[in-house]
C-alpha cells in the first residue's frame, strides 16, 4: 500500500469593502438590478480610462502589514488578456510581476492544538469580473456587469498545506484576518470571499510536486474541504491505476460532491501580461505605510495571547473566541460583566450561545441575546440568584424574546431558594414521605443520597440552591 501526501496551495479572492470600484466611481453595493452599477468604465466603452481607488490601496497595505509582509515601494498594474463575456475590456487589470504585498505568513491552529505556519507568497490588487447568468434566455446567457471592477485582493499561498483540514484552517484564518482588518465583509454566499485550490498528490517522502489541478471558485469552507477530498481521491485513483493527472482547471459541483473539468478553460491560456499603459506605477510612500500601520486593530493572534494572559483561558478557548472579531468583542463584553469569572463567560459564549446561533444559522452580530444581556444573566449565577441549570432555562426564554434575565427570573419565579428554613421544611417532608428509602440509606446505601437531592429539587421546581440542599440533607440524614 503506497502512502500519498497531499499538497495544497490556495488563491483566495477577498472583495475589498470599498464604496466604489477599484478603477471607477460606480457603487459596489451588492444586490442591485443587473447592470445598474456598471458605469462607462466598467462596461469598457471605447475611450474610457481607469483611475485607482486610494481606499483599495490602503486596504491592501493593511493586509500586508497584518501578515508581516513587505509593502512594495513601487508596484505595477498589468493587463491579463483573455476573452470572456463577463470581462468587458477583454483584459483584467491585475498585478503580475510587482505586486503590492510581498511575502508574509500566518499561523494556523488545528483542532488537536498543533500549530503550523503557512507562507503567503504575495497579495495583489485586481478587478473582479462580472457574472454570467445561465438561466434560459432563449438558449442565451445573460451578462451582468455590476460586479465588474469590484476591487479584489488576491492572496496567494505557498503550497504549504498537507490536508483539507489545514486548507480549511488557513482559509478560516485569512477570513478572520480580513474581517478583523475590516477590509472585506467575508460574506461567502455573496461571493465576497472565495478561493481557488491548487491540489496535487505525491508519494510520501518525495520532494517533487505532483501535477496539480486548480479547483475554481470555492465559496464555502465545507465546499473547499469536500472538493479537496474528492480531488485527492480522484488523483490517487488515477496514479494508482497507472495513469497521469492532467494539469487543468476543474469546477466543484456541490450537488454531486465531485469536481469536473471546466470546458471553458480547456484551451491553454496565454494571458499575454504586460504593464497597463493607462495606469502609472503605484508608488507607496513610507509615511502612507506608517499611517496605515497606526490604524491596525488588535489582530487575532495578539488577541488570543491577551485572552490567555489576561483571562486565564486555555489556548483552545482563546483560539475559538478570537476566530472572529465579532465573537471576541462579544466575549469581552460578557467577561467584563462577570469580572473575575472569564471562564464562565467563555463557556457560555462557546457553549449555549454558539449552540443556539448554529441551531438557527445566525451570526453573532444578530444574536437575539446581546452580550450585555448574557452578562446580566451570568451575573445572576454569580450572585446565586439562580443556578447554572436554571440559567439555561432563562437563556432560552431570553433567546425567545421574553425579556432580560431579571424579567424572566421574576416572571417565571425562578429565583433560587436560599432560605435555610424553607429548604429544611421541604427536606423534612421528603424524608417523611420516603421512610423505606431513608431506612436503606441509613443502613449503608449511600447512593440514595442523590435520590433525596432529586426529590428536594423536584419539589422546589429546581430553585433550591444545590449547595445548601447538599449541606442540609447531609445533616438531616445522618
Amino acid at each position: 500500500m503506497m502512502e500519498w501526501e497531499t499538497v495544497i496551495g490556495l488563491e483566495i479572492h477577498a472583495q475589498l469593502s470599498t464604496k466604489s470600484k477599484i478603477f471607477s466611481g460606480a457603487s459596489t453595493a451588492y444586490g442591485a438590478e443587473p447592470n445598474t452599477q456598471a458605469c462607462a468604465v466598467d462596461l469598457g466603452l471605447p475611450g474610457v480610462l481607469p483611475v485607482l481607488n486610494r481606499e483599495a490601496v490602503r486596504m491592501a497595505v493593511k493586509f500586508g502589514l497584518a501578515i508581516g509582509a513587505p509593502i512594495a515601494p513601487r508596484s505595477i498594474f498589468a493587463r491579463k488578456n483573455y476573452f470572456y463575456p463577463d470581462l468587458p475590456k477583454g483584459y483584467q487589470i491585475s498585478q503580475y510581476e510587482l505586486p503590492v504585498v510581498g511575502r508574509g505568513q500566518v499561523e494556523i491552529e488545528l483542532e488537536d492544538g498543533e500549530t503550523r505556519t503557512i507562507g503567503v507568497t504575495r497579495a495583489h490588487l485586481e478587478e473582479d469580473a462580472g457574472k454570467s447568468l445561465h438561466e434560459d434566455y432563449h438558449g442565451m446567457t445573460g451578462v451582468d456587469l455590476n460586479r465588474a471592477g469590484t476591487p479584489l485582493l488576491e492572496i496567494v499561498s505557498e503550497p504549504d498545506m498537507r490536508s483539507a483540514r489545514e486548507a480549511v484552517a488557513y482559509m478560516k484564518k485569512i477570513h478572520a484576518l480580513v474581517r478583523y482588518l475590516e477590509i472585506c465583509d467575508g460574506n461567502m454566499q455573496e461571493g465576497s470571499f472565495r478561493c481557488d485550490a491548487n491540489v496535487s498528490v505525491r508519494r510520501k517522502g518525495t520532494e517533487k510536486f505532483g501535477t496539480r489541478t486548480e479547483i475554481k471558485n470555492l465559496n464555502s469552507f465545507r465546499f473547499l474541504e469536500r472538493a479537496i477530498h474528492f480531488e485527492v481521491e480522484r488523483q490517487i485513483d488515477i496514479l494508482e491505476g497507472g495513469g497521469a493527472v492532467v494539469q487543468e482547471t476543474r469546477l466543484f459541483d456541490p450537488d454531486k460532491g465531485e469536481t469536473r473539468s471546466m470546458r471553458s478553460k480547456e484551451e491553454a491560456n496565454d494571458y499575454r501580461y504586460f504593464p497597463d499603459p493607462d495606469l502609472l506605477p503605484l508608488d507607496i510612500e513610507p509615511a502612507f505605510i506608517e499611517q496605515v500601520r497606526g490604524s491596525l486593530p488588535e489582530l487575532p493572534d495578539e488577541k488570543k495571547h491577551r485572552f490567555m494572559n489576561d483571562h486565564g483561558l486555555s489556548a483552545y478557548d482563546a483560539g475559538v473566541l478570537t476566530a472572529s472579531r465579532e465573537m471576541a468583542e462579544y466575549f469581552e463584553q460578557v467577561a467584563v460583566a462577570v469580572e473575575g469569572q472569564a471562564k464562565l463567560a467563555a463557556n457560555w459564549v462557546m457553549g449555549d450561545l454558539t449552540g443556539a446561533l448554529n441551531r438557527e444559522g445566525r451570526e453573532i452580530t444578530d444574536s437575539p441575546v446581546s452580550a450585555e444581556a448574557l452578562g446580566g444573566l451570568l451575573r445572576r449565577i454569580q450572585d446565586n440568584t439562580i443556578s447554572g441549570k436554571i440559567a439555561k432555562e432563562v437563556f432560552e426564554a431570553m433567546w425567545a424574546g421574553e425579556g432580560d434575565a431579571d424579567q424572566v427570573i421574576e416572571r417565571k419565579g425562578l429565583k433560587q431558594i436560599t432560605d435555610t428554613g424553607a429548604i429544611e421544611q421541604v427536606i423534612d417532608q421528603v424524608i417523611a414521605d420516603n421512610p423505606s428509602q431513608l431506612e436503606q440509606y441509613r443502613s449503608g446505601k449511600d447512593k440514595l443520597f442523590g435520590f433525596f437531592v432529586g426529590q428536594v429539587m423536584k419539589r422546589t421546581g429546581g430553585k433550591a440552591n444545590p449547595a445548601q440542599v447538599n449541606d442540609l440533607l447531609k445533616q438531616k440524614l445522618s
Partner: protein, 95 residues
C-alpha cells in the same frame, strides 16, 4: 522570422479574429515581413536598460473612494446588440 499559415491561424485564434482561408497567405507574408523588419532590434545592446512603459516618469494618482456614477443602464443599453431584463445576451456560455 517567417510565419506559417498554421501559426497565423493560431495567433488569429488567440486574438479572436476569423481570418478567411484565402487571406491566410497574405497575412503570413505581411506579418513575416513586419517581424523581419522589427528584428533589427536584436543587434542593440540593452544590457542593464530599464524597459520604458511610459513616456513620463510619474506615479499613479489615487482617487477618493466615493460612488459618483449614477445608474445609466438604459442610456448605455440603447446601443447594445442584444439585451433582456437589463442583461447583455450572448450565445450560451458553457463552463
Amino acid at each position: 522570422m517567417s510565419l506559417s499559415q498554421e501559426q497565423v491561424k493560431k495567433i488569429a485564434h488567440l486574438a479572436r479574429l476569423n481570418v478567411r482561408e484565402e487571406d491566410l497567405d497574405t497575412y503570413a507574408r505581411t506579418l513575416s515581413d513586419i517581424l523581419d523588419f522589427v528584428e533589427q532590434m536584436e543587434g542593440v545592446d540593452t544590457e542593464g536598460v530599464e524597459p520604458m512603459a511610459h513616456p513620463l516618469e510619474l506615479s499613479q494618482r489615487l482617487r477618493a473612494d466615493a460612488p459618483t456614477e449614477p445608474d445609466r443602464r438604459a442610456h448605455f443599453q440603447r446601443i447594445a446588440p442584444a439585451v433582456e431584463d437589463g442583461l447583455y445576451l450572448v450565445p450560451r456560455v458553457i463552463e
